[in-house]
């Protein structure tokens, strides 16, 4: 047995180069974009349809409409009812997933290669020829109301749903929950869904992404399935994303009996197109994007206040939130807020060390191949290209963009994009336990809200 010094971490072996998979593009005659990429050796394909039909497109009085519309698509076509659609796809080994975000709505499935053309045809039937059956509309609307009621009872989801209202002006779609409110969803009619579908789903504002074991037969099938689609969807309009307030306010959303406080601390952040995307991504990794970030090492590993603390910039088409979150025990809620503010101030005032910046850069670039192990993961990157209009070779240059970030850049973007004096400090928890200590912190006015306010 060879002897060696265990106290020294082993040196890396020579690095094996990683290249982002090649992305191929074609445009159908009707203007629909098709992106495809080969991936791995598994005999499967991920098929993802994506449309500019996310929640920013629905209008504030119709909050929840994007969700309801996308979910209704798979509940019936001219030729198939909801049960037939589900059984047909699942018997092929495919499970349809419908996802509605702020920027887009998507329907996706992963299927063994031999069944991919059949699954694609069913997917096209769902997207192109929805029947909008009244009984299904009513069932799904009621289901969405039920989900909203449940989210109110769950402190994590409640906190995430209400935070936007304290970050953004009421005119912004980001001020309210993506799923809608009980009132807006109850008020939706079937005509709203049909109108939204016709406005938002069309070949020029949609794309089809194919990843994995993609062969010519499948590419030919795309033309057959989607080539004759002629719907004319409307272009989207920009939306309001101004802040809710110009000063720091503590908002306690009272949840009597809570044994933990769900913290959501933040303010309006940045759009995906921000020229500071790379330095902000590195800066956030240092603040709260890693396990060994400053926030998690402080709140969890030093103080034991929480199971985990993290921060993120939600880069959306329009400026999404900068958000810090943690669930902390009642008796340390104010101290956790204090430590959070301390970390935010420290990063803004003093920046980060060379070592921290290097570690964050190496994490973000190094983890790229790990996050491309599945066809679904690569399809998600293709969806990012489509949603934000990024160049097809964007990810080939991603590592360089990150590696160019310097400690000076991090200091600059921390000062420019983090505003401690304008943070909304949202605390979903037991007001009886946390109000006084939060007032004693003296970090801004304290407002108490009831859950149904």
């Amino acid at each position: 047995m060879s002897t060696f010094d265990r106290a020294v971490a082993p040196a890396p072996a020579p690095i094996r180069e990683f290249r982002f998979p090649r992305i191929n593009r074609r445009t159908l005659d009707n203007g629909m974009t098709v992106l495809h990429a080969a991936h791995g050796s598994a005999p499967i394909v991920t098929i993802l349809f994506i449309a500019d039909a996310g929640a920013v497109r629905e209008g504030n009085t119709r909050a929840g409409l994007a969700e309801l519309t996308a979910n209704l698509l798979e509940t019936g076509t001219a030729d198939r009812d909801a049960q037939q659609i589900a059984v047909e796809l699942e018997t092929l080994g495919a499970q349809l997933e419908t996802t509605v975000g702020w920027d887009a709505a998507s329907l996706s499935l992963t299927v063994p290669t031999e069944h991919a053309p059949t699954a694609l045809a069913v997917l096209a039937d769902i997207v192109l020829r929805p029947a909008f059956i009244t009984s299904e509309f009513e069932r799904l609307r009621q289901e969405q109301v039920g989900q909203i009621i449940r989210r109110r009872q769950d402190p994590r989801l409640l906190a995430s749903d209400v935070a936007g209202r304290f970050f953004y002006t009421p005119a912004s779609p980001y001020a309210r929950p993506l799923i809608g409110t009980e009132q807006t969803v109850r008020s939706l009619g079937q005509h709203d869904v049909e109108a939204f579908y016709h406005e938002r789903y069309g070949p020029r504002t949609a794309a089809l992404l194919l990843v994995g074991d993609v062969d010519d037969a499948l590419l030919d099938a795309v033309n057959v399935a989607f080539g004759a689609w002629t719907a004319a969807a409307k272009p989207g309009h920009d939306v309001e994303t101004g802040p809710a307030a110009d000063r720091r306010i503590v908002h306690i959303v009272d949840r009597p009996g809570s044994v933990q406080s769900e913290l959501r601390i933040g303010h309006v952040g940045l759009a995906r197109h921000s020229p500071d995307y790379f330095p902000v991504t590195v800066m956030n990794a240092i603040l709260g994007g890693l396990f060994t970030s400053r926030l998690n090492l402080n709140l969890r590993e030093k103080h034991g206040f929480t199971y985990g603390a993290r921060s993120a910039f939600a880069f959306r088409r329009y400026p999404g939130p900068f958000l810090i979150q943690a669930a902390v025990a009642n008796d340390v809620t104010a101290r956790a807020v204090e430590e959070t503010l301390r970390e935010v101030h420290a990063l803004r005032d003093h920046g980060a060390t060379e070592d921290e910046v290097t570690a964050a850069r190496d994490f973000i670039t190094g983890i790229q191949p790990l996050e491309l192990q599945t066809t679904e993961q690569l399809a998600a990157r293709l969806a990012e290209i489509v949603t934000f209009g990024l160049p097809d070779d964007y990810f080939d240059h991603f590592r360089r963009g990150i590696n160019d970030v310097t400690p000076d850049d991090v200091r600059r973007v921390a000062r420019q994009h983090i505003h401690p004096d304008r943070l909304a400090v949202v605390v979903v928890g037991c007001a009886t336990d946390v109000e006084k200590p939060l007032r004693d912190l003296d970090i801004g006015p304290v407002e108490i809200h009831r859950i149904n306010d």
């Binding site: 060879s2 971490a9 082993p10 890396p12 072996a13 690095i15 094996r16 990683f18 598994a42 499967i44 909801a82 049960q83 589900a86 796809l89 699942e90 018997t91 080994g93 499970q95 992963t110 299927v111 063994p112 290669t113 031999e114 069932r139 009621q142 289901e143 109301v145 039920g146 009621i149 449940r150 109110r152 009872q153 769950d154 402190p155 933990q260 890693l290 396990f291 060994t292 090492l297 969890r300 590993e301 103080h303 034991g304 206040f305 929480t306 199971y307 669930a327 902390v328 025990a329 290097t358 570690a359 190496d362 994490f363 190094g366 191949p369 790990l370 491309l372 599945t374 066809t375 679904e376």
Partner: protein, 424 residues
């Protein structure tokens, strides 16, 4: 029909008893390192529930040659991901790394297996105790329906069975844990002869045995593992219906059912896995059809726990739509489960196809591949089940499902747990 992919691997055993699985696949410059220890909440003694999981946290606090916080930091700064998890039967630790950093993973894992105790302090224990208590608040005490698994385990396993209590444990028992407990637990269960190491992905297969031996070879084997506490034998059927009603701060009623079924590893368990998919997986499933399409419920779940001591359980749950009475929902749920007695070929085929496809999807990930190989080695000494298990699933017939349902899904073999909104 294309050839079904086969996961190839080598296996060897170090002199100290560490079992090693090496699954080479150089497709991407990525490697997964995965360790299973044959210890979980089932091994906890009375008064120390939650300890196996608390101990898992202590494994990330540094060891003799790895400073505090360095374990996470060293892996994150090379672009790796890592975690650990504790369950009834096992505790696993895993990292996925850019493949040129494989040795870093082996070094970190071997150091905490061989040299954990010199780095242990009261301060670290107190800190992680607070973290875990906050994890319990987050998962259980501050979460609607959050204690369902505690309730179901209490109902379905007698007080002297190792599965009677949940993984997360009680606050009082977490408070009672001492440094002496950490030391004793480590010396008893964290030994090379009680572990399986899997390396999957991009590495040099010829060099791997020597590399593993370099890091793990000098760790001495431990004593034989003590038998599980309590009584592990169970009757195949519960023999009665056990009911509980819990009033909680929930918005909508929810109903759980649990059935005692043969343990994971028993040949009958494959029928249970197919039955669970027939019941709850996908919008074509029986429960979705009978409960959601009819407007009674807004979600359905069915899951056969792959656990090995005495008996496993198959659990279903469903949450009421606003205005639906809990007993109406329960009756509909029980009726839908009862339909498995007259299961159709089409429903069985749907479930089997979904299981086949989800295996292809899941095994794309090296961490999933490594974890599956560790599991089959640890539980059954049969890593090749990663390839053969699906054949046994395909062999399940409609007749098998019908007779399984006839035997196990009766009134005399179930627990029923209702959650009701607390009256205001």
């Amino acid at each position: 029909m294309r050839e079904k992919p086969v996961i190839r691997f080598e296996r060897f055993v170090l002199d100290n008893g560490l079992r090693v699985i090496a699954a080479h696949d150089p497709a991407a410059p990525v490697v997964a390192v995965n360790l299973w220890y044959n210890v979980g909440s089932r091994n906890e003694r009375e008064g120390r529930t939650g300890f196996a999981h608390l101990f898992e946290h202590m494994m990330f606090q540094g060891s003799q040659h790895v400073p505090e916080n360095a374990h996470f930091a060293l892996i994150e700064k090379v672009g790796g991901s890592l975690n650990g998890s504790t369950w009834l039967d096992r505790t696993n630790y895993f990292e996925t790394l850019p493949s040129h950093h494989l040795e870093l993973g082996l070094w970190l894992e071997s150091d905490r297996l061989g040299w954990l105790l010199p780095a242990m302090t009261q301060e670290k224990l107190d800190n992680q105790r607070d973290v875990v208590k906050n994890e319990r608040r987050w998962r259980v005490d501050n979460q609607p329906y959050g204690d369902w698994d505690e309730q179901i385990q209490e109902m379905m396993y007698p007080p002297d069975h190792p599965y009677h209590h949940s993984v997360i444990g009680s606050m009082a028992d977490l408070d009672a844990a001492t440094l002496e407990d950490v030391e004793a637990f480590f010396r008893t269960y964290y030994t090379p002869n009680n572990a399986v190491l899997t390396v999957a992905g991009d590495f040099d297969p010829a060099a791997l045995p020597a590399l593993v031996d370099r890091y793990f070879g000098e760790i001495p084997p431990g004593p034989p593992i003590p038998p599980l506490p309590g009584r592990t034998q169970l009757d195949p059927l519960l023999g009665e219906e056990i009911r509980r009603v819990v009033e909680q701060d929930v918005a909508l009623p929810r109903v759980y059912t649990a059935y005692r079924i043969p343990p994971y590893g028993d040949s009958a368990f494959h029928a249970a896995a197919v039955a669970a998919h027939m019941l709850g997986e996908g919008k074509g499933s029986l429960l979705y059809r009978r409960l959601i399409r009819t407007g009674l419920a807004q979600d359905v779940v069915a899951y056969a726990f792959p656990i090995v001591v005495g008996a496993a359980i198959l659990v279903t749950w469903t949450t009421a739509m606003p205005g639906v009475d809990v007993n109406v929902l329960e009756t509909a749920l029980l009726d839908a489960i009862g339909e498995l007695r007259t299961a159709s070929d089409a429903d069985v085929t749907r479930a089997v196809r979904m299981l086949e496809a989800s295996r292809l999807r899941d095994l794309q990930r090296l961490d999933e591949r490594a974890d599956t190989l560790s599991m089959f080695t640890m539980l059954f000494d049969e890593p090749d089940r990663i390839n053969t298990e699906i054949e046994r699933i395909r062999a399940v017939t409609t007749k098998d499902i019908r007779s399984f349902a006839e035997r196990y899904f009766g009134e005399n073999n179930r627990g029923v747990l209702q959650y009701l909104p607390r009256p205001s």
